[in-house]
Amino acid sequence: MVYDVSKLTDFHYSALKEISNIGIGHAVTSLATMLGNEVKIMTPNLRVAKIEEVAEYSGGADKLVSGVLMKLSGGINGYMVMLLPLESAQLICKTITQEESPDITNPMNESLISEVGHILGSTYMTAFSDFLKVDVFASAPFHTYDMIGAIMDNILIQMSQEVEHAIILDTLFMLKGNGMDGKILTLFDPISLELILGHVDAMFH
């Protein structure tokens, strides 16, 4: 079955959101454990957008964020991106290193934020792996502090060669008490999306 992403049913939407919800639940719990704090997760957002508009939907093309990017491979292919406002990235560093005003562009803090992104990403993907019964691997994480458009355009360029629309699953998470928030975005390639939706259909019909 071939799915046209611009014509997904409500059922597909709910199913994708539910899998994502479980994934993010696991991921943010691991973050909370690391940082010793309580977590609040907002309901995942699922949007179909033209590739050219993804950066705008992700928070604004020139908004500065700390971004960690991972490539997904194995049973499903795509990308996962964690976007953190500067204050959230600093808070992560501060909590772990006790440094007063951390510079997130120094190599030590960069690798720390990358690792946090990687743990979040891998935990999140475990939910997809369990559901689909396939292995999904997240690549080594890459971190940079830059504009959302610049962080994402390479991914979007790659995707634009195969599809016109992308499915964006994005989830906002917040750590209670210290005002930290962040976003996790996942973008799947069309074949992977078919696999995921095929599973959804097989389970429920």
Binding site: F142, Y145, M147, N154, I157, Q158, S160
Partner: protein, 157 residues
Amino acid sequence: MIVIGMADYAVTRSPEKLTTLGLGSCIGIAIYDPVTKIGGLVHIMLPTIENARFKDNRAKFADSGIPFLVEEMVHAGASRRRMVAKIAGGAKMFSFNADTNLNIGERNIQATKVVLAEMKVPIIAEDTGKNYGRTVVLDTDTGIYFIRSATKGETQL
């Protein structure tokens, strides 16, 4: 200020400004005619429309977007002989791009230069490559191309 999205373009005249936000591997090509003060900006994503699966948007590719922009500027009253270009973008944001022989930023820069040379539009300034994002603004009153980056401040071309 006219904001141009990814794979988008616009042509305007003084005193209007044109901008495009958060260029990573993409390129922002600004073309200007200093006499009529007509300026154009295109935000390309890929080097070539040839072999592309979706060809409906010419502004997406260097080899179709640049000729398209020049055409639109001529249509607006600019002189082709007076046109000059300034280009920015084509960064390599993450090192993993290296494993695939597809350093898309570099390929975009090369294609942009080849196309502009073929069209005989001289590149009089550029800020390309490296590993950071850029937001650009073309001031059609002066022809100045402002480049802002996250950590390197603002420069003028």
